[in-house]
Amino acid sequence: MTQIWKHRLFWPLAALITLIVVNSVARPRFLTITVRDGQLYGALIDILRNSAPLMLVALGMTIVIATRGIDLSVGAIMAVSGAVALTVIDGSNDPGNLGTVLVAVVVAVLVALVLGAWNGFLVAVLGIQPIIATLVLMLAGRGVALLITGGFITTVNSAPFSYIASGYLTVLPFAFFISVAAIAALALVERRTALGVLTEAVGINPEASRLAGVRSRGIVWGAYILSGVLAGVAGVIYASNIKAADANAAGLFIELYAILAVVLGGTSLAGGKFSIAGTVVGVLIIQTLGSTILFLGVPSAQSPVFFAVVVVVVVVVQSPRVRRALGSMTRRRPSTTAPDQERTKVAA
């Protein structure tokens, strides 16, 4: 039991489950999942589907943060990627053609890759502070996206394109499978090869790991490229969801929500150790919180406060000090030994 209590995913998961319980109590409909034409439909399914863009961005952010960096440009990259995809489709003769859509998506993701590589170049090669390096693109990228769309919202009618966000693969939304694929691929590469450990090493001490023979430059560069590509895919999903490229609103503030998701999942902003599972739970917490605001009917003027209060509670509860204090209170053990045990656990 204490093992579960001490697991680092315990509190994030507890927060997620609490939110779901609160929603279900307020509106039992929340848990209802209906089958329509062999497709599942319900509030929980909506959460899985709508969380896809934030999930992708937060996964990339996790790896970047693990290298002691931060990527503020993800929202702008989403806007650019959506704008590129829609412009390609809009400019083609046959918007409904699967080939056109594939070309558009590939071009959009390639552009995102280039932007990610640019961030990585600034950080890994030129040694600019990550927050400044990515701030450049955060501010400039949206302008580029606006330039591509000419300041208007480009709308297209393309069945294969809207399938990306709204379509179903068998019984579940296609966008959910994109999330799952990204999580699985990342977990496999980072945790089944040495790359994850090397990334953490670079984050904990870049100089020491370089001296130990880790090619930190490549790893940092790669992290920003990954973040850019994932943001590019997220931008395509976002655009597909509304069948339009909204350069002003696409991915607005998503960098902050992604950082929040990473932190809620227990990854430290100081770099080093990271948790992919934690980020996944963090994203689901944020997405569920959005639904909670709707289901409880929190007035829109108060909803940011509600959001903030929940986040503060989750973060405070996760704090090692608070947990230690709570732990010694609930267990009523001699207070001299309990903190020591906790500390070794945390260190391990």
């Binding site: 693109l137 300041g151 969801n241 959005g290 709707l294 829109s300 940011p304």
Partner: protein, 365 residues
């Protein structure tokens, strides 16, 4: 501006080679320095790129960016400085185009255009530079209401009349000549009156609000609520969709999960974009937008009008971005010394399906 930055970049890059004749230690230091210069250069490059982006946006007005000297010395043309908020939406782009057209050379104007990218400080600086350039009149689309007293006083001291467009300011009315814009509350009221007429049986309505605290969101809500008071329309839920399609879609999805598609009869969206998002959500829920669930929106941009023609939206009240002609007339009147009204409200139209079909081909925005 673009040219200036490129000059700086070139100068920074051409500082000769300081690594010559140095000890290895110094050499290392200089290498570090060069690294920094390189990174600065890279940054400058990006900034230049953005600047290029901005200037392409306003390419037409760039040509006239050099005003004809103090007091409109350039022949008979009236030099007008226009401080726009930025290019944050399709509505804004259409507004800018309308101003460019109204203040064209054929109409006897020379327009000095500035887009402040939604930075209030930059906008005030732009107005100040208009004053220094000695333009004949200044038109401002204020980004924020507050902080205008000083610069408006400066304009008055320089005897340059100021016309406000679209949004207004909190400064004293004596500091500007006139305001031309729209009445958001009336827009909401027009939408509400139509709803009150159409829905005589008990109706469950959900509202997709604009950005919390923004004037259009507040006023459109107030106007609508006043108009449907005492009718069988009941507002069962209301949440902000931030004026975006994505916001409208995700909030509507939540409403549909919460109340069920059968539990909602009417959607009132504070702008077209959120209404378009709601259409997507309603279709995904297996209901028919415009029939099972009626939709009323405000704005009348082209995509919204198309949806109205397609029968997915039922009624749209216009929020007219074409304020250019009204502003140009005001400028001329003020410069001729005529008395002008302090506020000019440009009439908004409202469209049902038939009217939209007629208006759609001419819709430029």
């Amino acid at each position: 501006m673009r040219v200036n930055i490129r000059h700086t970049a070139r100068r920074a890059g051409s500082q000769g080679d300081p690594t010559l004749a140095m000890t290895p230690d110094q050499n290392k230091e200089v290498l570090e320095m060069r690294k920094q210069i390189l990174s600065t250069l890279a940054l400058v490059g990006v900034v230049a790129l953005t600047a290029a982006g901005c200037s392409t946006d306003t390419a037409d007005s760039d040509d006239v960016a050099a005003p004809g000297g103090g007091g409109g010395g350039g022949g008979d043309l009236i030099t007008v400085g226009f401080a726009q908020t930025g290019a944050e939406s399709g509505w804004r782009s259409a507004n800018t185009e309308s101003m460019n057209e109204a203040f064209s050379e054929e109409n006897g104007f020379e327009l000095v255009f500035n887009s402040a990218d939604n930075d209030p400080a930059a906008q005030i600086a732009a107005v100040r530079s208009f004053i220094n350039q000695g333009v004949d009149a200044i038109v401002i689309a204020p980004i924020v209401e507050d902080g205008w007293d000083d610069v408006l006083q400066e304009a008055q001291d320089a005897e340059i009349p100021v016309i406000l467009e679209d949004r207004t300011v909190s400064a004293s009315e004596d500091l500007y000549a006139s305001w031309v814009g729209l009445d958001f509350e009336l827009e909401g009221q027009m939408a509400g009156e139509w709803a009150a007429e159409q829905f005589t049986e008990p109706t469950n309505m959900v509202v997709l609000e604009g950005t919390t605290g923004s004037a259009p969101a507040n006023d459109r809500a107030a106007g609508f609520d006043a108009a449907i008071e005492g009718t069988p329309i009941e507002k069962i839920d209301s949440q902000s969709g931030d004026f975006t399609r994505d916001g409208g879609k995700s909030v509507m999805e939540g409403f549909l999960q919460k109340h069920g598609a059968d539990g909602i009869d009417l959607v009132y969206a504070h702008n077209d974009d959120m209404g378009l998002g709601a259409i997507e959500a309603i279709e995904a829920a297996g209901a028919v937008p415009g029939e099972d669930i009626k939709i009323i929106t405000i704005d009348a941009v082209r995509d919204g009008m198309q949806a109205l023609v397609d029968g997915k939206i039922n009624y749209i009240v216009e929020c007219n971005p074409l304020l250019g002609d009204a502003a140009a007339e005001l400028v001329k009147a003020v410069l001729n010394g005529e008395e002008v009204a302090k506020t000019t409200i440009v009439e908004d139209q409202a469209f049902d399906q038939a009217a939209a079909e007629a208006a759609l081909p001419d819709r430029t925005y």
